[in-house]
Symmetry: C2
Subunit: 340 residues, 2 copies
């Protein structure tokens, strides 16, 4: 028994088995939705490949649950490729996933902009192309906090990934072409912006240590989903002050037309409870309306997390009728489920 394990406040067995065991548990909970391919460490939609349907794949380091495995299923992803905690998956996983879900209409890789993910998905796409599979990739880079970062050239990919997977997944499910699905995913990335703050670090199971030191009473403003430092360290603000920061950062960068309809996604980082996320949503809703935007859709909960980190992020997506209809379309995954 690893001593480090038992010193953390975590429900796990051996730290090096956390991801594999968590994937197995997820698969056991939704056998009608997905299957776990243990050899390739990928989660694949139960009925894959769906003949004639554009297939969507995403992936990245684990520790952001329910992203991505919780979003595999009808109306969203065809497969997810989880790496170890905060570690990119390898090209072999992505290639195996691409082959497993290819229904002949093309495969789209939805890639959060982290250098390792981008490189590895690119290698897998090249290999798949060599085997005659048509693969396209969209790199999501919606985080307005920083222009370049510790792990990226350009902006980081965060909350808009969830929205791209839902909206692209709905378009693929209804039978849209590869070009059409690609267009919607690119539109989500082009019209989505995010900004996050952290109130605590998280503790990766393998190290057993916080990844950064954040004393009570301070917040990290502009974090990524691995706790990467953002714009600045500041005294912890009130919910109203935090909402001010988030809404200003996101709306000033998005520059949506006044009167636009938007989707407001208030996301918990894993250790912040719904009591606070509901409260924060209320503050954000008021500020978006004051800024001339109408939040006609929203998502409030912990969907792209950083283990048990306390904190939250805001993603705002400018909607049109098509994106709204795709958001509303039925979905059946472990973590998002409605309609149908």
């Amino acid at each position: 028994m690893a001593t480090a394990t038992r010193r953390m406040r975590k429900i796990i067995n051996e730290p090096d088995q956390v991801v594999k065991e968590s994937l197995a548990g997820l698969a056991a909970s939704v056998p009608d939705v997905l299957r776990y391919d243990v050899a390739n460490q990928i989660l694949v939609r139960a009925d894959a490949p769906v003949k004639g349907k554009v297939a969507l794949i995403s992936g990245g380091g684990s520790g952001h649950e329910p992203l991505h495995g919780g979003f595999v299923g009808v109306g969203m992803l065809d497969a997810a490729c989880p790496g170890e905690v905060f570690t990119s998956p390898v090209p072999d996983q992505m290639l195996a996933a691409t082959k497993a879900v290819n229904g002949g209409a093309g495969v789209i890789h939805i890639v959060k902009n982290y250098t390792g993910d981008v490189l590895n998905f690119k290698m897998a796409a090249d290999e798949a192309a060599d085997e005659g599979i048509k693969v396209e990739a969209v790199v999501i880079d919606d985080d307005v906090a920083v222009q370049d970062s510790l792990y990226t050239a350009g902006r980081r990919g965060v909350g808009a990934t969830v929205l791209a997977e839902k909206i692209g997944g709905a378009a693929a499910e209804r039978g849209d072409s590869l070009e059409a699905v690609l267009g919607f995913i690119r539109q989500v990335n082009a019209r989505g912006r995010s900004f996050g703050i952290a109130l605590s670090s998280c503790i990766p199971p393998a190290s057993g240590n916080p990844i950064f030191d954040l004393p009570e009473g301070e917040m990290e403003v502009g974090i990524g989903i691995h706790g990467e430092p953002g714009r600045r360290r500041a005294p912890l603000g009130s919910a109203a002050e935090i909402a001010d920061i988030m809404v200003e950062a996101v709306t000033s960068d998005l520059a949506a037309k006044a009167g636009s309809n938007v989707l407001a996604f208030v996301n918990g980082m894993g250790g912040t409870p719904l009591l606070e996320l509901y409260l924060l949503y209320g503050e954000i809703d008021k500020r978006l309306r004051a800024a001339g935007l109408t939040p006609v859709r929203n998502l409030v909960g912990s969907y792209i997390t950083s283990l048990e980190m306390a904190g939250a992020s805001l993603t705002v997506l400018e909607l049109d009728d098509q994106l709204t209809a795709l958001w509303d379309a039925p979905v059946h995954t472990a973590a998002l489920r409605w309609g149908g």
Copy 2:
């Protein structure tokens, strides 16, 4: 600005406004589902009262979100009465809710067995009866950890409350009679058992202090949802050991027939992320099957919480065809949503 606020790792404004502001935020996020009656501090289904439908109400201290407000909507609760954090709501709230949702077919109070809740719901029911409304109550007491506790005579009411609200709500929605709906709710309580463990305390916003001291590397075995002490303090076990404790406690008390179908509800206490809950579900699924039970349905996530406490609980409900069909019936609330 209260200094204590800013020292916590919480996204809030003034500590004494947390509940009101959180309720307002929830209501702003789902205006099609429910409305917030500010004067009475209750959440009411948007289309209440539904004429001719049995109405379901629950309530209790806040800090357990999404319980109960997140479960108000079509196919589940007609109203929720939230008290302050970990504090019983008052009879006036319950009376106002009872009158607001009474559709003429009777009103059922689903009450977690905590002394204050039970007394206050009883007073409200008596007053409602005086006004000619037919009210019945079911007290949920599914926690096998302790026979009596700090806040209860008899067992505490925990995870089975969520299942009773879903299953009773589905029966009411399809038009079942008061007696029939009552019967299903009582059956859920009779055939449901729960057991929880904590890996950390939570910090109520009003005090700014942990409600108990639990060093890293230890766990509280048999907790209630306010961190009430349970059976014992023990060194933190592995997920496998925790699953052993939970499954043994629950199944030995339930004494279901071998071969029974069950619903396994693996619930996070607020600060434990899905990565761990999925892993724990995998351990529990295996042990239930080894015990001769078949988990044909499950719910994995943080649905009855204790603010940001780290920990988890298991609820097992013995199913029959009727309960299974009611579980599967459409529901549209902030926190549970499928079908329809």
